[in-house]
Subunit: 310 residues, 4 copies
């Protein structure tokens, strides 16, 4: 399957693990089915919500192969190629495309301290070596630099990038890319996606092509409805659906901040919710994340109940 | 060779590359000889100065194997196992120890946002799986968290960590670890190393066991002299030698900050200096770093000349 | 004039200066007239765009007195009381309310490193001493902490705060306050205002009460139209007007980042635009800001011309 | 009294408050006597440790007047002129010099986002208006920019700055200023002071002229001994004294981080210690700082007892 322009709802799939920390393929495929049944428009594996940072190379490969084998052809599969710099990212691009990914999603370099000119060089070198389209992944909370809008537009105009997945939370900067892409003669087929669960309606209203919501693992039907309402121009309906999802999103904060980081809490809650909803067998998160306590899991259940998801 | 307590001068080796970006093993071995001839006390490969963040897994393995085969038994070889989280770091630990490393050097998790409790879990899990001692690598500029001193001391007391390589630049915090280690009955054989090129004399004076200076690639004799003067209690001599090295260190800033990041400038300058001194064949740095211009390389040469190194 | 709930378009007024750095009162009053004629709903003096950080206490007092004497009774006047901590802010509150301000706008403490509990204490103590309503000013780029949404809601419920002026750029967090305020039984008359020039339409669509756009100095008619279109439910019209304003906003970046900070560029451009439009006599910014060059001012003129404002 | 070059031990005086938050002048003067009796070489009022950020203009003036009247002529009095930008700092300079300060201590601009060129303009404009020498105050934790070493040296060479008070914790950068000042023909009488309580010995060993230790309020005799040992070249004695002071410094962390910021804990502990030692009447800190609990105060007492100060 060739994807020229990812759009619509493309959840970043959680990666279910077995109790001993290996990829739980049957659970993963049930998650794919759960999402496909809700009507999502694509699948994003090996992103931050997928715990890509925690998966070994063997596990990453298994995830892509399993999902592509199961859903390839029906749904486009985007795969993260998350690593520190160009040479290492190139290796991941080779691995995930060999495993069948339709597009790769690539962050700016991290660990290394890079200049915007080096970020541009990075994407040019990665794209030159990639057999599939490259989507830029803007996630300052992880890589500690913000992808400059003018760099994204320059790379889009040069055909280096096929899209942007924006997890910066900065809607004003996102808008500059959205309108820049639209108004630039030389850019076609570029996809602008937001990773913001809480303002997906606003992002679509200003012209985003699609949404990549981590919470979409838990309630894919909600995001599919939201996307449909936005495209139908039903601003009030969209806002109501979005606010329902915002309330549900509260589950990411169940973890005690005195005991764990915000990532452990959010991913732990997504997995607990998928487990409570019967989609995956085990809510384990990867090392060294601290697991939710039984009380915290119970609070996840209350969020699900309040949203009518149990 | 077993190392219980790394000490003295342990340079973090640059990784020479061929013009097409592969590890230049003959140059790497000449660099090892250059350092050994100067009297260094150990070798640290796959650290930040080694461009570990830029090397593929195959390149990393080749570096460790080559250096261990060449110098193992004569000098202890510490190897970085630099990756985002526990499962990925464990794979690197397995690889570098299979290749013969005498100890592994491990940062806090990065990309992921972790809590101090998760940093501790990370080191415990890595150490449990490591056949060799684990040295913690505190490098906030890369991983964006400072390793808390109390976590280091707790892990030292529990036998999880065998040492600390501090590249934080925070000498006051470093001192707390140095004195904490010294005064704690239950901690023995723990090695406290500084990565600060410019205050190595001060770090040794407050009780550091050794120094891991990137600039030690360029002038290993200088750091060996500095270490000897400090151990001999010659504060004035040490200060003079240190100030000479501080002047030389100015070479890390030759790169134009409008054109490249500080890492590209520093590593580019180290490699240019090694090339000008005839140690390595090619000064190339890895992608996506911007190379120094001929003018900038010329300025590196002036620093070398001023230091009597050409 | 009593204001219970500021709403609509409330520009943060630039503070025109004479060539020798004193407040240019006639120009300031012409700016007030320029805004009033466009139909704005309130005036915010002594905010960041007003260069409050650069004005002496005497200048601050003169600004408030002048604007209140000129426009008080016709338009509500909100005044910043910007200083580091509670005792100093209390003094500013006393000064600006003596000068006639209808409400005060107060940031979290800065310079000092504060805990969220101390931020709450700060607002409670300031409000207890203020004869007028207190609006919280969330501006992390200046004070280096983000005002936590739950603290804002707690203070709103307790009647401590009368509103929030959000300049964080984080629309998701802003939405949590908007919906939190709306859904909380115990909160009435609380005003939620955005300082984001580029996503004012989105902020109004999710329920903001008003906008406080620095660019509103330059094109108040545009923001008044935008506000009207949003309230009329004309999403497409609002989006078009907003995008026109986004294009105009490009003028804030005319200043060379190699020569000046982003604040000097933005405030310099606002003042240059007001000067070119004939509203103020002199575009000078306060010390130590670097002034725009003639070329940079010319580029401001081009933005105005493109927007039909010259 | 004219001071050309502050040197030695110059504690940043705590500002004792009465139970209702006013400056407690008798306690302040007892603190001055306590320090003078220990043999300190100067007094620094209205610094961060003095809670300058929390004092009103009237309180600031009272502090300077009281201390100058009491100790002026015997000890040089340096006074902070802490505010956001040039015009406001100029007013503070006028006030503290009218009150008799021998030198003023000035940070880079804060709240505003400034460029290094603007920091330099700031100091030039402040110095041009100051009747007394200007000392730069490098305190990134408060102002969120690091004072660039080359800017300091340029301003020193031009006679704009008379000294540097470094509270950055970055000893390598500090050393660059120390040696830059020493080696520059055109710089004379420039004073380089460290604010680092824990590495004062190291700072003096690399060439600092003096120390400005907050902990010097609590144990001025310790820092005077340390300074004397360093100047006598007794590195081992200095190290032992410094380590004793490091152990005592642990008192700054008695405050529960779940309940208060680090500043509240540190200043609260200094004041509690001064109260327990009988120097000041009341340990109150200014609003909105959270006070230490009785248990936390008891722990301060244990630190004092362990150091032989009770």
């Amino acid at each position: 399957m060739t994807i020229t322009q990812p759009a619509g709802v493309i959840p970043p799939l959680c990666t279910p693990l077995t109790p001993d920390g290996e990829v739980d393929v049957p659970s993963l495929l049930r998650l794919v089915d759960h999402l496909a049944a809700a009507g999502v428009h694509g699948l994003f594996v090996l992103g931050s919500t997928s715990e890509a940072a925690y998966l070994t190379d063997a596990q990453r490969r298994l995830v892509v192969e399993s999902v592509v084998r199961h859903a390839g052809g029906q749904l486009p599969v985007l795969a993260g190629a998350i690593d520190m710099t160009t040479p290492r990212v190139r290796d991941h691009v080779a691995a995930v495309t060999a495993a069948g990914a339709d597009a790769v999603v690539v962050t700016a370099p991290f660990y290394a301290r890079t200049h915007p000119a080096e970020i541009a060089r990075h994407y040019r070198a990665v794209a030159a070596a990639s057999p599939v389209p490259v989507v830029a992944y803007d996630i300052p909370v992880a890589v500690h630099t913000k992808l400059p809008g003018d760099v994204v537009l320059e790379l889009a105009a040069d055909g280096v990038l096929a899209g942007l997945k924006d997890s910066s939370g900065d809607l004003a900067a996102f808008r500059q890319v959205v309108t820049g892409v639209r108004d630039h003669q030389g850019i076609t087929g570029f996809s602008v996606l937001t990773g913001s669960e809480l303002i997906a309606d606003a992002a679509l209203a200003i012209g985003a092509d699609g949404v990549v919501p981590g919470l979409g693992n838990v309630d894919p039907h909600g995001y599919v409805r939201l996307d449909r309402l936005c495209r139908a121009g039903d601003a009030e309906g969209a806002r109501a659906e979005q606010e329902r999802l915002c309330a549900l999103f509260g589950l990411v904060s169940v973890g005690d901040p005195a005991r764990m980081g915000p990532g452990s809490s959010a991913i732990g809650a997504f997995k607990a919710a998928l487990h409570l909803r019967g989609v995956i067998d085990c809510p384990l998160t990867a090392e060294p994340q601290v697991p939710l306590s039984p009380d915290e899991v119970e609070r996840v259940g209350k969020y699900l109940a309040a949203a009518g998801l149990l």
